[in-house]
């Protein structure tokens, strides 16, 4: 039981951590205003030189393979509701790590989204 909980929390933390790192990498690049193919290639060439991007991709890959491992011995119906914790973890990470302003309205929205995702996934036929 302890192993399942530890692994599930690891999946949530690594997955959300990966997204936060990718977000941090894109914030260092700054707002992208041109969407021409040449500009997009230039953005990719710039972003692959940012260490946060590589850390983010590494964490996302680790989370993905850990999730596959967890699914080999825990039921999907038990795994999925736990992964919706990533919305709360993301809000916390966004506030602390990215210094975003998470207002009361945004927290309320995030809590409702997490609850809704659990209902959608649990309510499968």
């Amino acid at each position: 039981m302890m192993r399942e909980i530890t692994l599930l929390l690891f999946v949530v933390c690594a997955g959300t951590g990966g997204e936060l790192c990718i977000s941090r990498a894109m914030k260092t690049i700054g707002e992208i205003r041109s969407f021409s193919p040449a500009s997009l290639v230039y953005v990719i060439l710039r972003v692959i030189r940012v260490k946060w991007m590589w850390l983010g991709i590494g964490l996302e890959a680790t989370a993905f393979f850990s999730l596959l491992w967890v699914l080999s011995f825990v039921n999907v119906s038990e795994v999925v509701p736990v992964t919706s914790l990533s919305y709360a973890a993301g809000a916390l990470g966004g506030k602390v790590f990215l210094r975003e302003q998470v207002t009361r309205e945004r927290w309320t929205g995030i809590v409702l989204v997490s609850l809704g995702v659990v209902l959608v996934l649990v309510g499968r036929v």
Binding site: G94, G109, S114, V117, V120, R124
Partner: protein, 137 residues
């Protein structure tokens, strides 16, 4: 300027909620066409890779997921992660609606309630400003 930022954030999220689920569905469809994979020797891995990359649905799925990921990266360059992450969850509602109206799948009342709660949550998040930070160091 702020309405321009909001508009392009919504367009990016719309692209994400279309191409993310579409990519997953296409990959699933392609892999189902291939059937059950058994790895008995290293030659099997090469054989599977050849079959996988000769399946059109898989290429379309990869292209869709690349579009999703690129758009995700772009939107994060100007919008908050805590705005984009919950807003993109409207994809769950999109999948439920599409599977009900196009594929005639049965959606349970609990699932409809979930879609409603997600939509309400996304609506509340969308009232907040998409960007609350400047460029990071």
């Amino acid at each position: 300027m702020k309405s321009h930022l909001r508009f392009k954030t919504y367009v990016a999220i719309l692209i994400m909620i279309i191409f993310g689920p579409l990519g997953n569905v296409l990959l699933g469809k392609g892999m189902r066409r291939i059937g059950v994979i058994n790895f008995r020797s290293p030659a099997d891995i090469i054989h599977v890779l050849i079959v996988v990359f000769h399946t059109g649905a898989i290429w379309l799925g990869i292209a869709s997921l690349l579009t999703f990921f690129l758009t995700y990266m772009l939107v994060l360059s100007w919008a908050d992660y805590t705005f984009v992450q919950p807003s993109s969850s409207i994809a769950y509602g999109m999948v439920a609606l599409l599977s009900h109206f196009l594929l005639r799948e049965v959606i349970t009342p609990i699932r409809w309630l979930g879609v409603l709660v997600i939509s309400l949550g996304v609506l509340i998040v969308s009232w907040t400003p998409p960007r609350t930070t400047g460029r990071a160091e």
